[in-house]
Amino acid sequence: MIPARKRVAIFGDSHYACLRLAQGLVDLSAFDVEYWGHVGKRFRLLEFRDGAIHAQDELTAQRFAKFNEKGRTFLPVADFDDIIFIGCRIDIARVFMGMVNAYMQGSYLSLGLRHAIVRNRLQGFAAYGMAAQMAALGQARIWLHPITMFGQGTDEYDSLITPAMRAATPAARDAVWQAFATVTAQDGIGLLRQLDHTYADGVYTDAAFLVDGYLETNDYTHRTAAYGALVWGQIMAAIG
């Protein structure tokens, strides 16, 4: 008997594009994959009710349906075994950098504080609330890959960056990710952290993973197919 293929939903804002680009680079034959997403601006018009993520207006629903293989205007949890939140406006960079900075400076932050910082930040994102609500239903496994750090060379962090952050070590990043993993696990959400070899200059995403022509377009936000393939690797390892 051929085992049923796992039903996987990739739910995201434009950060999910790299996973789609990576489809030719990874073997996804064990999965039925659907994408459901749109640009981040539309996320404010989403809500979770009746076991599904719904758009609050028809235009938004159609936007999300546009790139979905089945033309879905809403995303029901029960239709999937695993739902992967990619980006979804969940930008953790500021608190990530702050905690990395403290770690590198030897300024001890208690576990309670680290978890409070993470929880406070994640709870500020509507999509995170949806993920937690979905997870609470127990109908599908919920995973989260937050927005990656801005790309190497950007001036986006100029007002925040410190020498300690630029010198961040794998141990520093790991300590911070552990805090995120603990909090998301408390909410029943599996965390897919940005892999350690994708960083450069401490807290930036290595320029090798920035999209072609990023200098001309000043796009330090989106990632390459190669990065998407790495995330697919994480997903496959996670969902089995």
């Binding site: 804002d13 434009s14 999910y16 594009a17 790299c18 789609r20 680009l21 990576a22 489809q23 030719g24 680079l25 996804l28 034959s29 999965f31 039925d32 994959v33 994408y35 997403g37 749109h38 640009v39 981040g40 601006k41 790139f67 293989e69 500021r94 608190v95 950098m97 702050g98 905690m99 900075n101 403290a102 300024s107 001890y108 932050l109 208690s110 576990l111 309670g112 504080l113 409070a116 910082i117 406070n120 930040r121 925040l160 410190t162 999209v211 377009t217 000043n218 796009d219 936000t221 989106h222």
Partner: protein
């Protein structure tokens, strides 16, 4: 015929200095010994009333310094919950001169840091600041690691600041009978467990308070010979007393002794001064108008009046235009999320369109 009172200024007489005036018009209560400039590095420690001091300094653009700030990006509500930004370091309230002396001694190695820990089930508490974390720490190691950061912050604060403001709050305290080390609060009230055989009540006497303050000041001046010290006494009455006196009488005793210690300390030199926030709030001249209905909490208008007096008297003494300091500058604009600009939106659209373009349509089937 003249005598020593014949040419005194109006504020030296009760009638002209107090009774004939509207309460809020009473002025020149303080003749500061040293100038505190907006650019002065000021640190604050002490009982809860000291919190108002730091907030007022910040609101007026003065250089209150936080030597143990939370991590970059810390949300204000989380910061408040974990007692960041309350004082210049995370000691929590320091009610007595002995507590101040202890913290300074541990920070600068004059005394070994005690290893006592309070444990409630799986949570661990620092006996010298048991409320610093909302639910205590996860381990004893965390208690010491966190305290080490605070002790380092105290060292930096003392060595790098110009003015050390200390607000004395209580004479009553609880200590370990065996070690003599004083706790921040009575064991068992916020955390820990009360043990009548090892927890002793101490109602500090004048001589002891003075000796502890003198020792604390000696450490401050040894580590930073230029540092100026500004003492205040909290006007907030005791919540409860472990003495055998009525709470009103116990409060009067406690504050009176602290107030006397402050005056005595002012004779030690030009570097140490007393600011009369206690009198401004508690004097009958103000008819109790600065207290909330519970007759304990100080109303915001009281705090404002105290701090207005502080800045006005500084300006008067050092010939600065009082109007410069009575109007708080506009607070910095609240941090807001950048609205998504059109270019960013377009880049996101393009990223998606590109990913789903036919040439990039990989197979997922």
């Amino acid at each position: 015929m003249t005598h020593p009172y014949s040419d005194l200024a109006a504020e030296r007489f009760w009638r002209t200095g107090v009774a004939d005036l509207e309460p809020l018009a009473i002025s020149r209560l303080w003749m500061p010994k040293f100038r505190i400039r907006p650019r002065s590095k000021i640190v604050t420690a002490g009982s809860c009333f000291a919190q108002h001091f730091s907030r007022a300094l910040v609101a007026r653009g003065y250089g209150w310094h936080d030597f143990e700030p939370g991590p970059i990006g810390l949300d204000p509500e989380v910061a408040k919950t974990f007692n960041y930004g309350v004082f210049s370091f995370r000691t929590g309230n320091i009610y007595t001169p002995k507590m101040l002396r202890q913290w300074l001694s541990w920070a600068f190695g004059d005394l070994p840091e005690p290893d006592e820990i309070w444990q409630d089930g799986p949570r661990f508490y620092d006996p010298y600041r048991p409320a610093i974390e909302p639910n205590g720490f996860a381990s004893a190691d965390e208690v010491f690691a966190s305290r080490a950061v605070t002790l380092a912050a105290i060292r930096a604060a003392v060595r790098q600041s110009n003015v050390f403001v200390f607000t004395m709050g209580l004479t009553e305290s609880w200590a370990n009978a065996h070690t003599g080390v004083e706790y921040a609060v009575c064991p068992g009230t916020i955390a820990g467990h009360f043990d009548a055989t090892s927890d002793i009540f101490v109602n500090h006497r004048y001589s002891g308070l003075l000796a502890d303050l003198q020792a604390a000041v000696a450490i401050l001046r040894r580590e930073n010979p230029q540092i100026a010290i500004l003492l205040t006494v909290s006007p907030v009455p005791l919540t409860a007393t472990a003495s055998e006196a009525h709470i009103l009488v116990a409060t009067s005793h406690s504050k009176s002794v602290l107030r006397a210690v402050a005056s005595e300390a002012c004779d030690w030199g030009d570097y140490i001064d007393y600011f009369p926030s206690y009198e401004i709030i508690t004097s009958p001249a103000y008819r109790g108008m600065f207290f909330a209905p519970n007759l304990r909490s100080v109303l915001p208008m009281g705090v404002d009046h105290v701090m207005d007096s502080f800045f006005r008297d500084q300006a008067a003494r050092f010939a600065r235009d009082a109007s410069d300091v009575s109007t708080p500058p506009a607070p910095p604009a609240a941090e807001i999320e950048e609205p998504e600009d059109a270019d960013a939106e377009l880049a996101c659209e393009e990223a998606i369109l590109n990913a789903f373009a036919p040439q990039n349509a990989g197979t997922s089937k």
